[in-house]
Symmetry: C2
Subunit: 388 residues, 2 copies
């Protein structure tokens, strides 16, 4: 039997998620929004019986056993940790900082019987499921290089808000880059050892964001990751094995969102463009379509990959909860592909290393936190940084 | 009246160049090849009356007043400098090192009445001529980011030779990257201040390159250039203005060569794909074709951009020499778009800075040589590098 669901958030993802949950047979009992009006309006629209702006009303709702959290990053940690603390299963978006992610990992470790996954939908997109299988089968041979490009118009909300603020988890790197970092570690089965990056904010003000307000979050981000290298002593240019990933994120582009993920190896290459997968092997007869998107014509919906992946994730959640008869019990296997909170911490660590590299101009090591930093030490660092 | 031409080289470029010269009315009087047989064979094929493997026989040929040099990079400097020294006009390919380029600059400065240009054909490609015009007209607004990608199969010759050797000017960075560096400085009207790069050689041996022989030239190269920045004290991540260029060169790809050059600005973007130019502006009606390639169907010839650019360059040369009636006299204006030897030195300086960055892992400054380095000092550096 499927657990009742409580949803946090009234943004575009929450709006897409609720119908998908309902279509798979989940009952959505409660919706939380930042204001009563926002929550009430969307709840009526989506047929959710209860809405509120007080988080505890959702968390303590007797019919809610699965909590889906799609809210601004700075608020995610608190809701996720509280939900686990009172025995609810959690699917959530990334947090704002590595420290927040670490606290979520600690909570998830403390309640291993509860489901806790980061809702990165790219892993579930059929094109990437197929790409991962082909990689394991050796389609491209030994992987050498990955190249990812995501381009599109501005990610900023019209009004000033968290999307404008680097420290609140706004910007292309945090919003889109983090899903790419997660995807690449999933596809390649290895993690970034060192990163190098460059962030820019080209659009610092707009018609609606003006006066003393300035955008601090990046709208252009380029970074490189060296994955699973051999020796720690080798220079970055040394041919020391290890896969080199380059990621370009540009949100100053007119036109539709485009997303291209390419993996090049010794025997050929695989490319996912939007929701389609293509491949070409050395000595083969040119590029072949390995996975179409059901033959729909016309320009692809920019949100299609996201929506498609979200749908597959919800299906996996249904399988997981249906595997056993009980309302609160779930099977690990159907959601094995989903990123754990540990994966979320890794991703956040890479994001922060890229930001550090953009400031220092140097390659930065990716060192995943193993204990919570002293908050006073943090304060000092913050002050230091402000001084510079 | 057009000057008689002597051509150095029997490779693919020389093979394309001779018919283009002949079509524009230039008489090709002499051809040089590394062996008498090679030179003789190609001369017969292309209808050139004289062939030799001794460079002086071409340089001193009484009917030759323009020398075109398309030979392996380590040999270019000597021929180019000698040709200028005996009063011949010179069109040549890049040299192997910045020191060689500097010597060529010195010679060109010494004989300013002689034509001396680097035959980078991309500047002459109609798509880039149109792109440059659109940039000057403000089509994209303030330029923010350039992104260049060139992909294709291996650049190595089948047999072991200079293409395999980094120090002889082999590799994607030197062969293709240098034309991209030149093109971007031409399009943007500014030069790289700092660069960061990563080079890799994934294919170190092949069926025909084996035993003790190994490829040292790069087959994957990624680099970033910060162009014309404001303050020297600003960190690379600082939003200090300046255009950020990213260049990806991957020659491990099955299939045809692809080349894409994109310039993104505050008002829109321009993209040259192969020989075609597209553009899109914010708030416009989607991407528009700004310059087609004459509507030819089917997959584009991978060498088409190169061939098309070479053709335009030869036409410019004809205009330059026809401007005055005399055989040796030429006008600057028709070839004003062509890279000078000074531009060649700049390009070679960037190439070497990228290589240095790949070894050091750090951002490297681009400092164009102003005097010839002490050869003994050079030797010491070479020894030092071997030791590491």
């Amino acid at each position: 039997m499927l657990p009742g669901v409580g949803v946090f958030g009234t943004g575009s993802t929450a709006r897409m998620l609720v119908p998908l949950l309902q279509a798979e047979g989940f009952q959505v009992h409660a919706l939380w929004g930042q204001s009563e009006e926002e929550a009430g309006g969307l709840a009526r629209e989506l047929g959710i019986p209860f809405s509120t702006s007080r988080s505890d009303d959702v968390l303590l709702h007797p019919d809610v056993h699965l909590v889906c959290i799609y809210i601004p990053p700075p608020m995610t940690r608190q809701i996720a940790v509280n939900a686990l603390g009172i025995g609810k299963n959690v699917v959530c978006e990334k947090a704002a900082t590595a420290v927040d992610s670490f606290k979520m990992v600690t909570a998830a470790r403390y309640y291993p019987q509860l489901l806790s996954i980061v809702g990165n939908t790219l892993r579930f997109l059929p094109a990437f499921v197929a790409m991962r299988r082909r990689l394991l089968e050796g389609y491209v041979g030994e992987v050498q290089v990955c190249d990812v490009r995501v381009c599109g118009p501005s990610l900023l909300d019209r009004a000033y808000g968290w999307t404008c603020e680097e420290l609140m988890g706004g910007g292309g790197l945090h919003t889109v880059g983090s899903t790419v970092i997660d995807l690449l570690s999933h596809l390649l089965g290895s993690r970034a050892q060192r990163v190098h990056g460059l962030l820019r904010t080209f659009l610092t003000q707009s018609a609606s964001i003006c006066g003393i307000r300035r955008v601090t979050s990046d709208d252009f981000c380029f970074f490189q990751m060296l994955m699973g290298e051999a020796g720690p002593g080798a220079g970055p240019g040394a041919g020391s094995g290890g896969v080199c990933c380059t990621v370009t994120l540009n949100f100053n582009m007119p036109g539709a969102f485009t997303q291209e993920v390419m993996v090049v190896g010794s025997a050929g290459r695989l490319v996912a463009r939007g929701t389609q997968l293509y491949g070409e092997r050395h000595g083969g007869g040119g590029e072949e379509l390995l996975l179409g998107d059901g033959g729909r014509a016309g320009p692809a919906d920019p949100l299609l990959p996201h929506l498609r992946g979200l749908g597959s994730m919800v299906t996996a959640l249904r399988h997981s909860f249906q595997a056993h008869g009980e309302r609160r019990s779930w099977a690990r296997e159907p959601v094995a592909a989903a990123p754990s909170f540990e994966d979320g911490l890794y991703v956040q660590t890479v994001v922060e290393a890229v930001k550090r590299s953009s400031r220092s101009g140097e390659w930065e090591c990716v060192e995943v936190m193993t204990q919570e930093p002293d908050p006073n030490h943090n304060l000092c660092e913050g002050l230091q940084r402000n001084k510079n």
